[in-house]
Each structure stands twice: as C-alpha cells, then as structure tokens.
Amino acid sequence: MRSLIDILDLKTEEIDELIARADDIIEHPEAYRDICRYKKLATLFFEPSTRTRLSFEAAMYELGGQVLGFSEAASSSSAKGESVSDTVRAVSCYADIIAMRHPKEGAPLVASMAASIPVINAGDGGHNHPTQTLTDLLTIHRTKGHFDNLVVGLCGDLKFGRTVHSLITALSRYSGIKFVLISPEELRLPDYVKQDVLTEKGLDWEETTSLEDAMPKLDILYMTRVQRERFFNEEDYLRLRDSYILTPEKLQTAKKDLTIMHPLPRVNEISTAVDTDPRACYFQQVLFGKYIRMALILKLLEL
C-alpha cells in the first residue's frame, strides 16, 4: 500500500507511467467508466479548496466510484479536537483511498502513517501539492510530447510560490531543461532552491526581471500570481504588478508553439484577451488535472 505525499515519492518512470495512463484515459474514457465501481474516495478537506476537491471528486465519479468526505475543518471531527491519526484510522474503515488537504505542513504524512489505505496529499499549507505538479507535468507532456530540452519560463512570485518550487524539482530530473526565472527582485527564487536543485543538478538557468526580454526564448511560460501582501508598500506593488501581467502585446515576440500555463485561480496576471490565443493552456490544464488524478487513483488502488 502506497501513498503520495511528495512529488519526489514518485520515480520518473512512475511519472511516465501515470502520464501514459492519463493519455489512455483521454483516448478511451469508456474503458474506465466502471473500473472503480464499489470503491470509495474520502475527500478530507480540513481547509476549503473547492477547485482541488472538485477535481478529485470528478476524477472518482468518472472512474465509476463514489465519494464521501468533508470540505472544511468546522464540519469535521478535528473541530472537536480529534487528531489527524485518529480521523484517518476511522475513515480507513469506510473508504478505499483518501485525498487530504490540511493547513498544517506534514499532516498528510502523519495521516499516511496511521491509515490502512492510500493517502493522497491534496495540499498541506504552502508545503507540498503533488497533484498540482502532476497536473503541470501532464499539461507539458500533452502539449510538447516530451520533457527534455525545453526552455521553461517561470514568471511572477517565485519566492513564496511552492507550486513553482516543486515543478522545478520535478522537471530537474529530465535532461537539457533550461529555466528562465522571471520575477521582481523582491520575489526571486530562494537561494536554497537554486542551490539544492539548480546548482546541485547542474542545470542551466538565468534570472531576469523582464518578461518581454525572456519571451522569445520560451517553450513554456508558467505564470503565477503576484500578491499584494508580499510587498511593503502599495506603490511597489502597483508598479511591479503590471510588468508581470501577460497581455497579447507581450506575446507578440513569443514562439508560435508556446504553452502558457497557470495553476489558477488567476486574478489579473493574465489578461482575459489572452484566453482566446491558441497558446493559452490554463483551462485545459484544469481538465488534465482531472485525468492525472484518475490515473493516480488507479495506480494507488492497484487497478
């Protein structure tokens, strides 16, 4: 019995397997319609995240399974002071697999040690969110066909954005990847990520404050939100925010087959005028998120 807590729990061959399975699901959805019949997914969301929860629920329903659970801590036993371990021991009696979101870092790991069924980390605070990373990987693979030798631009808040850190970690295992880190000085990628991942693996990377300068080189552009609360003053925020908003004008120098991604929800960092550009893949990304979760559920249930 296995769980998925951290993206690095999966070997690259296992990620390839999941992607191949997701591809097969996309091509032959009818073959999977009943595969999880009589199986139950428990969605234990100790903090609300409607988007992620719906993705897991849709995935399980499309596999013919059923879903039970709660969507916020107030309606769960933890509100009465029950430990994570006790909650999942009880849930292990009802369900076949757990998807768990928790505001505290490490809670899903604690759950996986106590549960007798597989646990999927659906986000633990700002720590890990492996199914987001799998979603990103499937999106890249669906649009590019491979991971090797891509120039990947990461734009926005690279300091606090954990989705970015874990995507870098996951991609660093493929060959010839080059990263272009695009952010204001204040929100640069932390040194420990540069050292532990980029330098350690001998990866090629560059840092810039200009999205326009980086644009022509990119195969992938991963946009993230620049949040107001990350800045000391409103003036800096307003000045910087606009330089990291993606518009049709900024896309003029981009490659024809650029893949534009965003973990969503977006606020204003991608202008809605970009949505109709064929290179905009962020809504497709949501769909891929469901497919990769289907593949993951099947893998962990050994189906």
Partner: protein
C-alpha cells in the same frame, strides 16, 4: 575517583567550552549509578578552552546523538585502563525527540503527541530537516 584513572568507561573530549553541563543533562548522566567527572575550561591547543566529561563504569551510551549539537567532540573508549578507541562522533541518520520543530505551520505544533523527528539530509553541512514539514533544524 581520580579523574585520570578510568578503568572502563568513556571520555568525551573537545567539548566546546561551556557546553558540558548541557551535555550532562542531555545524556541524562545524572541517572547513571557511576562516577561522572566534569572538567570545565581545560586548556586546549586546538580550541583554546574546552570541556571534558569522564564517565567511569559505563560503555554503552550512544554518544552519536550529540553530533548534531556539538560536532567537535572526540570520543575515547577506555577498557582495563587503556584507551582502545578514539574517534569523532558520527552524525545519526535520525534524531528523535531531542529538538523540536520551530516552524509554526508544522503539524507538530498542533498535534503534541507526535514524536519530533529530524532526518539527516546533507552530511557535509550536517543539515537536518523535520520529517513532517522539512523545515531545517536549528541546532
């Protein structure tokens, strides 16, 4: 006890000056039913000043758990009055319930019955990280 005359026991040498009492409490040496000598501020060619702890009559203490907090210690093993082993401490792969995770967002801050476990992630720089949240241990 003549402190230089240990028959069978351990000598922890090159303890950073001022750390001996902390290590005494840490290893819970007070609970041993044998002589323990603490020498503070001994002069040292290598360190200027150092502390030393001598334990007479006990050999089976896991001193490696001291490595993360006091890496310079040299361990001497004395048998029948003769030093049979002298070595640096080895970093343990895991340290359990010795230090606490200081990350306020860590699950160990709300679930107090969980053991505090840190794993060695980088031997060269002796970096330990929390098993749960991966925050770096402050040693």
């Amino acid at each position: 006890m003549h402190i230089d005359e240990i028959k069978n026991g351990l000598v922890l040498d090159h303890i950073k000056a001022g750390k001996a009492m902390e290590i005494y409490r840490f290893l819970d040496l007070g609970s041993l039913n044998c002589p323990v000598a603490i020498i503070q501020n001994a002069s040292s060619r290598k360190m200027g000043k150092k502390d030393i702890i001598k334990i007479d009559g006990v050999l089976d203490i896991d001193c490696n758990i001291l490595a993360p907090i006091c890496p310079d210690i040299t361990l001497n093993v004395i048998k029948d009055g003769v030093r049979v082993e002298k070595r640096a401490l080895e970093l343990p792969l895991e340290i359990k319930d010795i230090i606490k995770c200081k990350n306020p967002r860590c699950i160990t801050t709300t679930e107090q019955e969980l053991p505090h476990i840190f794993r060695l992630r980088k031997t060269k720089e002796s970096i330990y990280r929390c098993l749960y949240c991966e925050a770096r241990a402050e040693l």
